[in-house]
Point group: C2
């Protein structure tokens, strides 16, 4: 039953905590960020959870050598294996494939280093995770194993081979593409067979789940045998509302409010090609070109969190972002008006402050498994702001009817969507904002968790 | 019945003839090239065919003004409409989308010019074609209309609206991708609704047909109602064998034979990013790096036909091809040995000569609807040459079991496939070569035509 206390082994690359040493050499614990950790906090509160994750820092490796701490098992991988696993296979190879970002004309080129990163990196790290899971199952054979995301596609089959009766579930947090031919046949078979070793495979939306069923058929010549479901992840509403009212966020908000003009367009993203930041600036430039009446009256505040900076594609994209922002400013800025205010920094509280202040929120992702910004921001926005939302974000399936939908490749469409959002009559803005808030409140992360747990019960039955 | 004489209206952008004026000002007729025109010649021989195509040259426009000639109706479009239709929408927008070539991070960007090319180019030219079809149907109401390819997705619905009872078929000669989100919703709906207005929609392979059924479901929320079939196009075997024995081809062959070394790898393609020429050179370089024993003994002869040179992506790709070939030569060439012999020219007879001389034929297309090189070349090859074939070429479904299959993105895999092909024991090479020839002989273009005509009969019944 979904309400009962359960024994769970959660497996994800990043864990809920990471360790460092302070200046005095004492161990300090940092709470992990990211939507996944937040979403799973509800699990830890109500169930018996052991969390298996990679040791990332040097101090993590010491904790791992000590056997973990407080319900968290850290797995220390060989450094070069982890590098190939993380920086070559998971990002960019799988991430780019699943967000359809590879320019197939020229990339990827799976060279000798890529093959080595697969066989001596991705495969090895998955083996390490599987071994750690099996060790936990030895202690607690009835526990359910809950794998997360694209780092761990191979582990479920390894666990299944050793524990035919174990209960295994996998949540894929990113899009599932229709075509996997960017991976050699043996690799794409391993990915699909790994996932099919689970009892439940889940995605955020019906679109990605349907795509998975089809690719099982294409790659393996068979339909998916596990339960394939979809549950849209969400946020902890009361916690998020409290955060938005905190002194720190209010201080940031005062700064933004003091600097803003008549209308404010906000975007909040990681620096990632999947987020479509460059096209967003191009679209804003086109909007200013086509709608002169808005010049001097509206600015775009782009708050971007640096991400995966050791990966060349990400470094190049950060430069392209800066260049695109500058181009708009060079063309349109005046002494009194800066069209694009680009801030690249890890400052989540500033982002929450901007959520409260936007008139238009731009979420134009090329592809996105869900996109939690589209849920967080409307929940706490105080200006009946309008959500402009990519049809390729998972959130569109839930929120599209109250958003202004955009095609992420359609520059003119995005420019006109900004105009439509800025020009929308107040009553209509209020109506949509009300629906967005109500939907997020009624579909919070607890509901996502209940859905997943009910799937496990159904699979076990 | 498939054997009966039929009345057909064939509709394609390029027609079977084009007109020019010679130095004396007299009209001269040039026979169109390309697989489609060749494939459909059998139709013209056995049935009553009116062929509707675009007027391309100035002289074509004069012929159009005179009402056509010899069963060919030429449609003269407004020049700027044709430019938007051909150079922006058909190529590159649709071609790149259907061959999965767009680097979604940065392109396409559907700007004002793209929107205009759609509404004032692609839509208009399709209207012109529909009007020309309706004029023919006025004269011959019982004729079957046979549309071809990605230039004409909108025309069938326009014809259907005016002639609910007409018999309409459409053959799509290029891949059908799983995801159409690169087109704004209204455009992708129009593409799918246009095709669904036919009685029969056909592709080369089951893979593309299945993908079409799925995208109808995704884009329109309904399955395909017409008959969706697949028939692999092929070549005129006896004509092609005769061509291979012609004096001109034999002269070219003597030149190639005189210049060749111990082993010869051949590739023959249009200059097109879909053909994967650059990765082919990279893979050949990697092969020479990994297998030193082949240096000095094997060359790659790349015969490339210039294509779509007014389109920036094609000009850039031609430069990337030249650079990649040079890089291999700079690294490995000696006074006695040129590893890559790159020839960019429109010289089909030279290509046929090379077909006879290869030890390995490399067809590594990123995606390809069919790829007729993979059928033409093994038919006339005289050295029990080995076919190295991309799993993403339509031809792979028929020929894969006798080829060395490659993943087009897998550089190491392609390098090792070249090694495997060059090292294959003679008896195995001969066995595979025999099967390839037998398959092409037994599955020639006449069989493709019979299949299409049988579909029309089944749809009519």
């Amino acid at each position: 039953m979904a309400g009962e206390r359960r024994s769970l082994i959660v497996v994800s690359n990043r864990g809920p905590v990471s360790y460092d040493r302070d200046a005095a050499g004492a161990r300090v614990e940092r709470r992990g960020g990211g939507g996944l950790v937040t979403a799973l906090r509800g699990l830890v509160a109500h169930h018996d959870v052991t969390w298996i994750a990679s040791a990332i820092t040097e101090e993590d490796r010491r904790v791992a050598a000590e056997g973990g701490a407080g319900g968290v098992v850290l797995v220390a991988h060989d450094q070069s294996a982890y590098d190939g696993y993380y920086n070559t296979v998971a990002n960019p190879l799988l991430w780019f494939a699943q967000h359809s970002l590879w320019p197939h004309e020229s990339a990827p080129e799976l060279d000798v280093a890529t093959h080595r990163a697969w066989s001596e990196g991705y495969v090895r790290v998955n083996e390490n995770f599987a071994a750690a899971v099996l060790a936990q199952l030895d202690q607690n054979p009835a526990a359910t194993v809950f794998f997360h995301d694209y780092h761990l596609y191979l582990a479920p089959a390894l666990v299944r081979a050793a524990r035919p009766d174990a209960m295994l579930a996998h949540f894929v947090h990113i899009p599932w593409p229709g075509d996997w031919s960017v991976l050699p046949e043996a690799w794409r078979r391993a990915v699909h067979e790994g996932l099919l070793a689970n009892d439940v495979v889940a995605f955020h939306t019906e679109r990605w789940a349907r795509s998975f069923r089809r690719s099982c058929d294409d790659v393996l010549g068979q339909g998916a045998r596990p339960r394939v479901t979809h549950h849209p992840i969400s946020i902890d509403v009361s916690e998020f509302e409290a955060l938005a009212m905190s002194d720190e966020v209010c201080a940031h908000e005062a700064e933004i409010a003091a600097g803003r003009g008549e209308k404010l367009i906000v975007r909040v993203d990681r620096v990632d090609p999947a987020k479509n930041v460059v096209r967003g600036f191009h679209a804003f430039g086109l909007f200013l070109e086509l709608h002169e009446e808005w010049r001097g009256r509206v600015s775009m505040l782009a708050l971007l969190d640096p991400s995966r900076e050791t990966i060349p594609q990400y470094a190049a994209y950060r430069e392209a972002i800066a260049a695109a922002a500058s181009a708009v400013n060079e063309r349109f800025a005046t002494d009194e008006w800066l069209p694009v205010d680009l801030r690249i920094a890890d400052d989540f509280l500033q982002s929450v402050a901007a959520y409260k202040q936007y008139d238009v929120l731009l979420v134009n992702a090329v592809y996105d498994g869900m996109n939690l910004v589209a849920k967080e921001a409307p929940l706490v926005n105080a200006r009946d702001g309008v959500l402009v939302l990519s049809e390729n974000a998972g959130a569109y399936a839930e929120l599209g009817e109250w958003a202004v939908g955009v095609n992420p490749f359609d520059l003119l469409g995005q420019a006109e969507a900004l105009h439509e959002a800025l020009s929308m009559p107040e009553a209509e803005r209020a109506r949509r904002a009300r629906h967005l808030k109500a939907h997020v409140r009624a579909n919070d992360v607890a509901r996502w968790l209940r859905g997943m747990l009910a799937d496990l019960d159904a699979a076990a039955a």
